[in-house]
């Protein structure tokens, strides 16, 4: 379970929110551009530090400035899929997926096994040796998801994963994400600005507005006028 209490002074406003995400559940984090969604993810990942608060995952404190605890990024074991998938263009699909495993020094046979599994799961079998630069948007997202899952993370985060995908790929990625989260029983946060996405994929949703929680609840119950955030 993820338990996050974060405050951070940003350029235009102060980010101030607290939330929890249960294992096997997906939180849809929504809000306008610049409302602090990506910053939140970066703080959870350890790329940024909060001013005050704490980030706890499965009872382990990842970061608590007051106590001087801050686990470095590479030790947190969080799966983070960036907005543009950020697949390493100079590596093949399997090399991409294997990257985190190699970085952690796993033995070769085990790496090969896990990579094979994930390639199967993400339907990337004929693309295994293709250089990631030549993949389509949907293929990149699936590769990025496989890569993030490969390290068996304790938390999965995705930043606008569907924004550059067509309808078909969007469906595919959404299904895969739900499967993975269910199977691994880890908490998952998906940042999206589209209400429809939050309905389809989120078990819960939070709407951020200028760094503050504007609304929280089950996507079904989202107020109708929340298609465009009242603030700007």
């Amino acid at each position: 379970m993820l338990d996050a209490v974060i405050t951070k002074k940003l350029r235009d406003f102060t980010l101030d929110l607290s939330f929890q995400v249960q294992d096997g559940k997906i939180l849809a984090l929504m809000g306008n551009n610049g409302s602090g969604k990506s910053t939140t993810l970066n703080i959870l990942a350890g790329l940024l530090s909060p001013d005050t608060g704490s980030v706890r995952l499965n009872g382990i404190t990842f970061c608590e400035p007051a106590l001087g605890i801050c686990i470095p990024v590479e030790k947190r074991c969080i799966g983070y899929v960036f907005q543009n998938a950020a697949v390493f263009p100079h590596l093949s699909v399997s090399e991409n997926i294997a990257y985190g495993l190699r970085a952690r020094g796993l033995p070769r046979p085990e790496i090969a096994e896990r990579v094979g599994q994930l390639i199967g799961m993400m339907h990337l079998a004929d693309l295994a040796e293709v250089k990631a630069a030549s993949l389509s948007g949907g293929q990149k997202q699936r590769t990025a998801l496989a890569r993030a899952i490969a390290i068996r993370p304790a938390l999965l985060m995705m930043d606008e994963p569907f924004s550059s995908l067509d309808v078909e790929s969007t469906q595919a990625v959404k299904e895969l994400t739900r499967d993975v989260v269910k199977k691994l029983q880890i908490p998952c946060i998906v940042v999206t600005h589209r209400v429809a996405d939050s309905h389809e994929i989120g078990d819960r949703a939070i709407i951020l507005c200028s760094g503050k929680k504007e609304w929280e609840g089950i996507p079904r119950n989202m107020p109708k006028d929340c298609t465009v955030c009242r603030c700007h």
Binding site: F88, G100, A133
Partner: protein, 273 residues
């Protein structure tokens, strides 16, 4: 719209193409003719026979070794420096940024003079080295130092701008996957900026190889020790024209060889999407 425009369209298009062709030809000739003229001024026999002249050999050896060492130093020190400079904001960053460009606008002879005044045995720093019995001016080390001074901006600017423009989400992703900053730098950042870095390195090497003003001012002109190819050309022009010409041609050939090799090698690189 009347179709009468089609004739003037064709005319216009031919005109544009021929003007473009003329433009390309003019630029190419302007760059290529002086170089070609070097080759026409000598004969193959003269060229080959003067290649075995000890002066030519020592200048060639000295130039190549010093330029390679200078390049190595610039890359090894400059790459991490450019990375840190691009990724962090530290007090005085603007000044350092300007200083990186300084050797580009400073006349080489001024650079050499400045190095002499600093590192010469009467120099601000040099005098302490001198007391320890270490001479810097008039040595091969001085040649390397002069080359590094004038040529490093080419690499530093290129590396700095490459790292600044490099999409950090790649690096962040690698970090979240468990790669340390060093591992990320070596496995992700460098491979994806490699072709840009190589072109910066090529320019640096070329500049180091051709360095003259700072060298002659700071390192002097002593065959076998500090007489690099450009110095040998300059001196040779007056005393032994043919040698000077041979060395000039060698410089041209080496430069071409390097450029072509690099282009071939970096063509195999995958360009990121």
């Amino acid at each position: 719209m009347k179709p009468a425009g089609s004739l003037s369209e064709k005319y216009r298009r031919t005109l544009s193409y021929s003007l473009a062709g003329l433009l390309i030809l003019a630029v190419t000739l302007y760059l290529a003719l002086p170089v070609a003229a070097l080759f026409f001024r000598t004969t193959p026999e003269l060229f080959w026979s003067s290649l075995s002249d000890p002066l030519v050999i020592s200048a060639l050896w000295l130039s190549m070794t010093t330029s390679v060492i200078s390049l190595a130093v610039v890359i090894l020190v400059g790459t991490p420096f450019a990375y840190v400079h691009a990724r962090t904001s530290y007090p005085g960053k603007v000044i350092v940024d300007t200083l990186i460009d300084l050797p580009l606008v400073l006349p080489p002879a001024v650079a050499g003079f400045a190095l002499l005044v600093l590192y010469g045995r009467m120099g601000l720093i040099g005098r302490y080295f001198n007391m320890m019995g270490i001479s810097i001016a008039f040595t091969t080390l001085a040649v390397i130092m002069a080359q590094i001074f004038v040529a490093s901006p080419f690499y530093l600017r290129q590396a700095k701008s490459l790292f600044e423009q490099f999409d950090q989400s790649y690096e962040h992703t690698a970090r979240t996957l468990g790669a340390s900053p060093l591992r990320t730098f070596l496995t992700i950042t460098i491979p994806l900026t490699a072709s840009g870095l190589v072109s910066g390195a090529v320019m640096t090497f070329g500049r180091a190889l051709g360095e003259f003003g700072a060298t002659i001012m700071f390192a002097g002109n002593l065959p076998g020790v500090t007489q690099t190819m450009p110095l040998a050309v300059y001196v040779g022009m007056e005393s032994n024209f043919n040698l000077g010409l041979t060395i000039s041609i060698l410089l041209v050939l080496i430069s071409f060889a390097i450029m072509i090799t690099v282009r071939l090698v970096t063509r195999k690189e995958v360009l990121h999407a």
